[in-house]
């Protein structure tokens, strides 16, 4: 029977396919397979080449301190759509080593570096295993369960000192700055220079020795302080004249170890913290996290809440895309006129968010099993006016304003090209992936919430250049409006919450990966619960972080002035990149 179905359409049974190499993960609440460390590359290669698991979405580590193990978790998908194949590799905690998947998927590069940086898992065969978010002089691996941060109070919130004998104190009074900073042995902050910087500069591609013209390679740091980089972000480029030979992004300047904070928090307390990831799209962030925890809890929100959620998520997509276009034009040198036109529309949407959730940007609106407040008829009427009347006009105006402008086309067409193969291998997602001709959208590939009953097209463009990444955002804004119109037409009355609102939710032990199609790409939350009030592991698959893997591929061969535009076309938010 199975012979008739091509391998690429099958969901393989790995235990039979790879006897003795792969085991079923039988822990209660867990899914997927445990792969022997030495077999990982073979298994993944076969899955990729024969079964069509060509998209490595998420790589992350988990520290199982009581069992003395570290685990690396891989989420593989087919770009044809369908559920995840979850693979895990276990390694002893004393000397965690796992083979690197970078030779098969370049998209693993940053994520493996992150796991090395925060958990100290060594990925053998990784071409560039350096710290990525923490600074190079940092001692220890902060996401390990036995690592304690400065101003450490207790393992988990709520802290006992707050009630009932809660005499107020400031953390820095109890633990003055300087007493709580850990340095590596023999470290002197006065004389220290970063060895990694040297390594980066030396690793850059340069003009070959056989160049008969005897020119020198110029190495330039763009950033960290640079107005065009949307925040504190640094790109080291090597140049031959004005042409880019090589590029390395360096991030982490805004790092606050979101995931460690998340593991100290209770499940609910994480909700407002997710707002601060991609601070333009807090509603989408809430959505992904709520989905992950609801999966663990096994609950579903009522109909009205689902509609409200989708409404908020699509309004967020609209505002993000119009904002991204505005700021792309900023990066191209059209200083602030298009950006301010975009901000005007965003303003009106933020008014809706503020009236619904109480805050313009840090919405904190979703709850497990529903949303925080109901949407009143007044607000619905306002959304209706926006969606049916104003916003479609404004998309058309943006279109008329920019699409055929010769300067925009000259700067964008054919610049920063990312091919479909590169985009998939680099685990790019969202508009970056779809502008390269891969019609992959989580809302269609693995529908969540009520997206399976909504009518919309997955926008796709085929050139993979800046211009297509601009056009696809226009397309997606139109599709979002189409979804919003259906939502406004069908939204039912009823409750907005399953069960009673609780401040302490009971989450059964297990793991869950909740992912949504965020405006910037696939936003995933990997949550592990051990039945306690706080998550054991809380990991964010940040789309703008992983999309940056493609930056070098896009930029090499173009002029240095184009880098700024290319970066603008990826659309990153440093709050999410650095976490």
């Amino acid at each position: 029977m199975s012979e008739a179905v091509p391998k690429i359409a099958q969901i393989p049974d790995l235990v039979n396919l790879f006897p003795n190499k792969v085991q079923l993960d039988t822990r209660p609440g867990y899914q997927g397979y445990i792969v022997g460390r030495e077999h990982l590359l073979d298994v993944v290669r076969q899955l990729r080449d024969e079964y069509g698991y060509d998209y490595l979405s998420s790589v992350t580590g988990v520290d199982y301190l009581p069992e003395g193990k570290m685990e690396v978790v891989y989420h593989l998908y087919k770009t044809l759509g369908g559920p995840a194949l979850v693979l895990k590799v276990q390694t002893p905690r004393e000397e965690p080593r796992v083979p690197s998947l970078v030779p098969l998927f370049r998209g693993a590069e940053f994520q493996e570096r992150e796991a090395w940086d925060l958990l100290g898992i060594r990925f053998e065969g990784h071409p560039d295993l350096r710290r990525i978010l923490m600074w190079e002089g940092f001692a220890g691996f902060p996401l390990r369960k036995d690592w304690r941060e400065p101003y450490f109070e207790e393992e988990a919130k709520p802290f006992k000192s707050r009630w009932p004998e809660g005499f107020v104190f400031r953390a820095e009074d109890r633990n003055p700055f300087g007493d709580n900073v850990q340095y590596p042995p023999g470290f002197d902050p006065e004389t220290w220079t970063s060895p990694d910087d040297e390594a980066v500069y030396r690793a850059l591609k340069r003009i070959g020795e056989d160049d008969d013209f005897h020119t020198d390679t110029l190495v330039v740091n763009l950033g960290p302080q640079h107005p065009s980089t949307h925040g504190v972000f640094r790109m080291v480029v090597s140049l031959s004249e004005e042409t880019i030979l090589d590029l390395k992004p360096i991030m982490g300047y805004l790092h606050r170890n979101h995931e460690k904070i998340g593991e100290r928090n209770t499940f609910l307390q994480n909700m407002p913290f997710t707002d601060r990831l991609d601070y333009l799209c807090s509603m989408s962030n809430n959505f992904g996290y709520a989905l992950a925890v609801e999966k663990l809890m096994g609950i579903k929100p009522p109909e009205r809440a689902e509609y409200i959620r989708v409404m908020m998520a699509e309004l967020t997509r609209f505002l993000n895309h119009i904002f991204a276009i505005g700021f792309l034009l900023n990066d191209l040198g059209a200083y602030f006129t298009p950006a301010l036109y975009a901000i005007e529309e965003r303003e009106l949407i933020l008014d809706v968010f503020e009236a619904v959730s109480g805050s313009r940007m840090m919405c904190n609106y979703f709850r497990f099993g529903g949303v925080a407040r109901d949407v009143s008829a007044d607000i619905l009427a306002k959304v209706r006016r926006l969606v049916y009347d104003r916003l479609p006009r404004k998309v058309d105006e943006m279109d008329e304003f920019l699409t055929h402008n010769e300067i925009v086309r000259e700067r964008c067409e054919g610049v920063g090209v990312l091919t479909a193969e590169q985009a998939i291998a680099n685990s790019a997602s969202g508009p970056v992936l779809r502008a390269s001709g891969v019609p992959y959208d989580v809302r269609r590939a693995e529908p969540y919430s009520i997206y399976d009953r909504l009518e919309f097209d997955v926008a796709v463009r085929y050139h993979g250049d800046i211009y297509d990444r601009y056009l696809i955002r226009l397309d997606e804004m139109r599709q979002s409006l189409r979804i919003l119109q259906q939502v406004l037409r069908d939204i039912p009355d009823g409750p907005i919450m399953t069960g009673k609102p609780q401040y302490q939710v009971r989450v059964p032990p297990g793991e869950a990966y909740g992912r949504v199609e965020g405006p910037k790409g696939e936003l995933g939350f990997y949550v592990v619960s051990n039945g306690k009030p706080n998550p054991w592991r809380y990991h964010v698959r940040a789309p703008s972080f992983i999309n940056l893997t493609s930056l070098a591929d896009m930029a090499i061969g173009h002029k240095v002035a184009d880098v700024v535009a290319i970066l603008g076309s990826i659309d990153i938010v440093l709050g999410e990149v650095d976490r």
Binding site: G166, N364, R373, E406
Partner: protein, 202 residues
């Protein structure tokens, strides 16, 4: 034709420029520094300039707006403050950045806890305005404020709010959140009726 696209773009910006002046003429003096003008500039059919001239003009905040918590007290017949807070500690437990400190009051004679706070502190530098404390308070005792102009000169002395600074009368609460207040009062009245009915039946 080369250049046509640029001209079209310029036409769009030109229209944006002109429409601002048309709106100014249309509204006349009502356009700026009046509540009506501010409201017009934030409605969904606004044309022309969006800018609100803060601080001379201010956008009215919606009822749901949340900015820093305060404690609600009822005014007694002689003007004394009766705090609604029972120091149950739920707000301190649910607070994500853990910025709420509560000291429970004990009866001086028996040493047993009595349902009122002896001290209540919020470090407003740490508060992230999530609104969980107000959302999960079972006694409607802590609510989110609307006053967002709280800049001060001294971080150390002014940014830890104590009971006195946090306490605001229930009338103030009713004025900033009339809908929520009405709903809560209705629920309370219903509960009271149910209790009365229960006690007479029992």
């Amino acid at each position: 034709m080369t250049g046509w696209g640029v001209l079209k773009s310029l036409w769009v910006t030109f229209k944006h420029l002109v429409v601002t002046y048309i709106e100014d003429l249309r509204y006349g003096k009502r356009r700026y520094f009046t509540p009506e003008g501010v409201e017009a500039r934030r409605s969904s059919d606004v044309r022309g300039i969006f800018t609100v001239q803060y601080p001379e003009e201010k956008l009215p905040v919606p009822e749901a707006f949340r900015y820093l918590p305060f404690l609600v007290y009822e005014e007694g017949p002689n003007g004394e403050k009766q705090m609604r807070c029972t120091s149950c500690g739920i707000c301190a437990k649910v607070c994500p950045p853990q910025c709420i400190w509560i000291v429970r009051r004990n009866d001086p004679q028996t040493g047993r806890p009595i349902p009122a706070p002896a001290a209540f502190y919020i470090d407003v530098d740490i508060c992230m305005n999530c609104g969980f404390c107000a959302e999960f308070c079972p006694f409607d005792a802590i609510k989110m404020d609307h006053d967002y102009e709280i800049a001060s000169y001294n971080r150390l002395s002014e940014h830890i709010y104590d009971l006195e600074k946090l306490a605001k009368p229930v009338s103030y609460y009713a004025s900033i959140r009339p809908t929520d207040y009405a709903l809560e009062e209705a629920a309370r009245a219903q509960k009271g009726d149910a209790k009365k009915a229960g006690s007479t039946a029992g």
